[in-house]
């Protein structure tokens, strides 16, 4: 039985020009979806069906794009979660974070919370789907991968390490159907209170190069950072583990 794969897409933003474009990670999610489901892939956007960027996604060879029609200020979450529930999706692919809007990276987590499905974050590839389970490769820093097995249905956010999106072709994009359904009318209460401003450049930590030889410099540039202070907790109780995380967050001044 073919699996129902859904890729969620958003309007991206080019880092140099600030112009709308197909978002890099979202288009990788479409690419991965096309690999898994071919043209049966359902690609879903919550927003304006007139948005020209949707044609750029469609140009990847999608016969249609499902649009949950809603205004810009509306919250995408309820519309998407009720759509996914109704469609009985097996795999839902998203980017790690959007390139515009809140860009909090929370969407896949909120969806998984609402649907009660597991989430796998930063997926590089989905190798195989068999017997209601999927073999998923997670992307770790420096090109490392971790293979995990996940039960269907699940939500996966697609990492930059996944296969780059194929070229978007103008003609098919132009001809693709925009299948519209009504989306949510609830305003995004969080976003309404936000105001957008250009980001300030973050101060960079000065890098003091201590290496004396070329070999040292090469090592410094390529070697894995040695954490040292980390510890692995396997046998402790959940209480102890949670306390350790809590302590760390306080130590790092994430929470006060």
């Amino acid at each position: 039985m073919p699996h129902k794969v859904i890729s969620l897409i958003s309007v991206g933003r080019h880092p140099q020009s600030g112009r709308s474009r197909r978002a890099d990670q979202d288009s990788r999610a479409v690419e991965l979806g096309l690999k898994l489901a071919g043209t049966d892939l359902d690609v879903v956007h919550a927003g304006n069906s007139e948005e020209p960027v949707l044609r750029q996604y469609a140009g990847m060879g999608l016969p249609k794009v499902t649009v949950l029609e809603q205004t810009e200020s509306a919250d995408a979450l309820p519309a998407l979660s009720s759509y996914l529930k109704a469609q009985q999706a097996d795999i839902v692919l998203t980017g790690v974070r959007a390139e515009s809007g809140e860009s909090s990276g929370m969407m896949p987590y909120l969806l998984s919370e609402q649907l009660g499905w597991p989430i796998v974050a930063r997926v590089a590839d989905i190798v195989e789907i068999k017997d209601g389970e999927a073999q998923v490769l997670l992307a770790l820093p420096r090109g490392q991968r971790r293979q995990v097995t996940v039960k269907l249905p699940f939500i996966a956010s697609v990492d930059n390490a996944a296969q780059a999106a194929r070229q978007s072709a103008f003609g098919p994009g132009l001809r693709a159907k925009m299948a519209t359904q009504s989306g949510s009318t609830e305003d995004d209460s969080v976003r309404v209170n936000w105001s957008e401003a250009p980001a300030k450049a973050r101060p960079k930590r000065l890098k003091v190069v201590k290496a004396k030889t070329a070999a040292d410099r090469f090592k410094a540039a390529t070697a894995k950072p040695q954490g040292g202070s980390g510890k692995v907790m396997k046998n402790e109780t959940a209480q102890e583990k949670a306390q350790a995380i809590f302590d760390l967050l306080i130590e790092e001044k994430v929470i006060r």
């Binding site: 080019h14 140099q16 020009s17 112009r19 474009r21 140009g59 990847m60 060879g61 194929r166 070229q167 978007s168 072709a169 103008f170 003609g171 098919p172 132009l174």
Partner: protein, 637 residues
């Protein structure tokens, strides 16, 4: 006696069969898309186009032009007279003598065709073309003998039945080639298709010394964008393919072929013929695409071309240098066809190879192929104190900077040109960050949608300001602005504006005395003609005049002027980067080194980049504006 009538009957039968073949051939062309041509005017203009424009090209090879005049002229004349004498039986001796004269002329021509075919150069196709001189000679000799009695040289009935039988065989061989073969796809097809191709050419502006090099806009509302199948070509493009004589002059000039990339313009046109007629390339008897075997290509009018007829790499190997078009005696438009097919690959399939996809995406998102921030376009001119159109509104010269603004090597050219303009006190301004990529690369890569969008947005910007001239250092932008924007210029943003390449403009400044230059003291200098300046726009003299004004005696390369060899940088070729055995830029640098020059003068930032990419030792490469600026005599105040 019946047998006496045999040759006449054969003539009529073969003529009829030939006409049937021609009608069938015409129906193949009609499978193409409609394109408006003026049928009557075209047919009226055809003899003139043949005698003047086509022969102007053939004349470059004196041997062949004389041979063709004798053979072709002799044949046309004798065919008419054969009908008069042998079918309508006009018994005037003077007509028979005229026929003999025409046949003798043809025989002499056919003899020289025969001689060329004894040891034919590699570029010529063999196969059926090898038998053509023999068929021509058979035709001429047969009809000479057949006409002798009518001319009163031999008594009627000489030789009896045996001679008539032999002559009848001669008639079948000769007319079989010349009439039957003309309609049914033999080598003589070129005469029939070629004549009609001249009459219904898609670029009639090319005749009478004109130039028409801008690509035709793609119809973005079509069911299919670009050319997928042979029947997606315009009908007169299909006709044009059929006109090919397989002389291989395109092949001899093609830089991609010479570099061992899988492109041979002649084979490409022949593959298009296979496509329009259906079948395989097994009967093709010329040079293959380098590295590809003959006999594998199959196609028909309604099959996708890149699915078995022509490989994608073949289409992406082209640098759009137009050397093949310039050289083609039949005035076939190879580059149009290649870009038409690329449009399908890019706009329908999304299969632009290598960096193509990335570059197109950058152009769409940032209006420049490098993906740089549009707001940094004018950073190069931070120290140049250049006026910006937004403030000036009205100016004499608008300097179109082009994407060289983002490239540090090209910026040296831009600065040199600005310095020269300032020295000449030119009233100049730039568009600054309002400028966008001209769309040249997008268009050559087949993305006409992006090109058209850029053209329209650039024109809207240009339309806000007043200026008399646009000057640019980039021949590619120059070509787009001058030849391709007009199709989209609904509001006349460029109406009455003179579009100039910087060498043309600088030459005017030098000639008018606005620029004072010292004599050049370096070594030997050669000049490389950029394709988009020379063949595309006919500007060969201004750059040379400029060099001469410095007292430079140009050491010309063997291939220069209209025969200049491409640097390999056009048509998005460095982006699609199809592998070959050699690099085109290396070959061009060898051409330059062969002149003993120490400096290659160029007029194009792309050529500069390509030629400077050749490993040293090699001559230095400089844009003409850089050479001039070194010799500039600055007034001291």
């Amino acid at each position: 006696m019946v047998i006496d009538w045999l040759p006449s009957i054969l003539i009529v039968v073969l003529l009829l069969l030939g006409v049937i073949g021609m009608l069938r051939r015409a129906s193949l062309w009609r499978a193409g898309q409609p394109e408006k041509v003026n049928i009557v005017a075209g047919l009226m203009a055809m003899p003139g186009r043949y005698l003047k424009d086509l022969h102007h090209v053939v004349e470059r090879d004196k041997y062949m032009s004389r041979t063709h005049v004798a053979t072709g002229g002799g044949f046309v004349l004798s065919m008419v007279l054969v009908l008069v004498v042998h079918v309508f039986k006009v018994e005037e001796q003077i007509v028979a003598w005229a026929l003999l004269g025409a046949l003798l002329l043809m025989l002499v021509g056919a003899f020289f065709v025969f001689k060329r075919r004894l040891n034919p150069p590699e570029r010529l196709s063999k196969g059926p073309w090898m038998r053509l001189p023999k068929s021509l000679i058979t035709f001429a000799v047969t009809f000479i003998v057949l006409t002798l009695p009518a001319a009163g040289i031999l008594p009627e009935g000489t030789g009896g039945v045996a001679l008539i039988a032999v002559l009848s065989i001669g008639v079948i061989i000769g007319l079989g080639e010349l009439l039957f073969g003309m309609g049914w796809g033999g080598p003589m097809k070129h005469a029939f298709a070629g004549a009609l191709h001249l009459a219904f050419h898609r670029r009639p502006e090319r005749f009478g010394g004109g130039r028409s090099t801008g690509l035709k806009p793609a119809n973005l509302d079509g069911d299919v964008l670009g050319v997928a199948k042979p029947s997606d070509f315009k009908w007169n493009q299909l006709l044009g393919f059929d006109a090919c004589v397989q002389c291989g002059k395109c092949q001899a000039m093609c830089p991609a072929f010479a570099a061992g990339q899988p492109l041979n313009p002649k084979k490409l046109i022949q593959d298009m013929v296979v496509g329009l007629a259906g079948g395989s390339d097994a009967n093709y008897a010329g040079s293959p695409y380098p590295g590809k075997e003959i006999g594998q290509a199959k196609g028909s009018p309604n099959e996708i071309i890149t699915a078995g007829l022509v490989s994608q790499e073949t289409l992406w190997s082209c640098t759009t240098c137009r050397a093949c078009v310039e050289e083609c005696p039949m005035m076939i438009e190879h580059v149009d066809a290649i870009v038409d097919m690329r449009r399908f690959l890019t706009m329908e399939k999304g299969e632009t190879p290598n960096k193509g996809s990335e570059v197109l995406e950058n152009i769409i998102a940032t209006d420049n192929p490098g993906g740089y921030a549009p707001g940094s376009r004018t950073n190069w001119a931070a120290d140049q104190n250049l006026a910006v159109m937004k403030d000036k509104k009205e100016v004499d010269v608008l300097f179109w900077v082009s994407d060289g603004a983002f490239d540090m090597r090209s910026q040296r050219i831009l600065r040199a040109f600005v310095k020269l303009m300032k020295a000449a006190k030119v009233d100049v301004a730039i568009l600054g960050d309002e400028e966008r990529d001209s769309g040249d690369v997008a268009r050559r890569l087949g993305d006409d949608a992006t090109f058209q969008s850029l053209a329209k947005r650039n024109l809207a910007t240009l339309g806000q300001y007043k200026f008399n001239k646009i000057v640019t250092t980039d021949p590619h932008a120059y070509h787009c602005l001058r030849n391709e924007y007009a199709d989209f210029d609904k509001d006349g943003a460029l109406a009455g504006v003179e579009v100039l390449h910087h060498t043309t403009f600088l030459n005017r400044l030098v000639q008018s005395g606005a620029l004072k230059l010292d004599a050049f003291k370096g070594g030997k200098v050669t000049y490389h003609d950029p394709c988009y300046l020379g063949r595309y726009n006919g500007e060969y003299e201004a750059p040379r005049d400029l060099l001469r004004s410095l007292g430079i005696e140009i050491a010309e390369m063997e291939r220069s002027g209209f025969r200049s060899r491409c640097c390999g940088g056009g048509g998005g070729a460095p982006i699609t980067d199809i592998p070959g055995e050699r690099r085109i830029a290396d070959m061009r640098m060898e051409d330059a080194s062969a002149t003993g020059a120490e400096l290659v003068a160029v007029g194009c930032q792309q050529c500069t980049a390509m030629l400077e990419g050749v490993v040293e030792p090699r001559p230095e490469v400089k844009d003409i504006s850089e050479i001039l600026v070194d010799q500039l005599i600055e007034e001291v105040h």
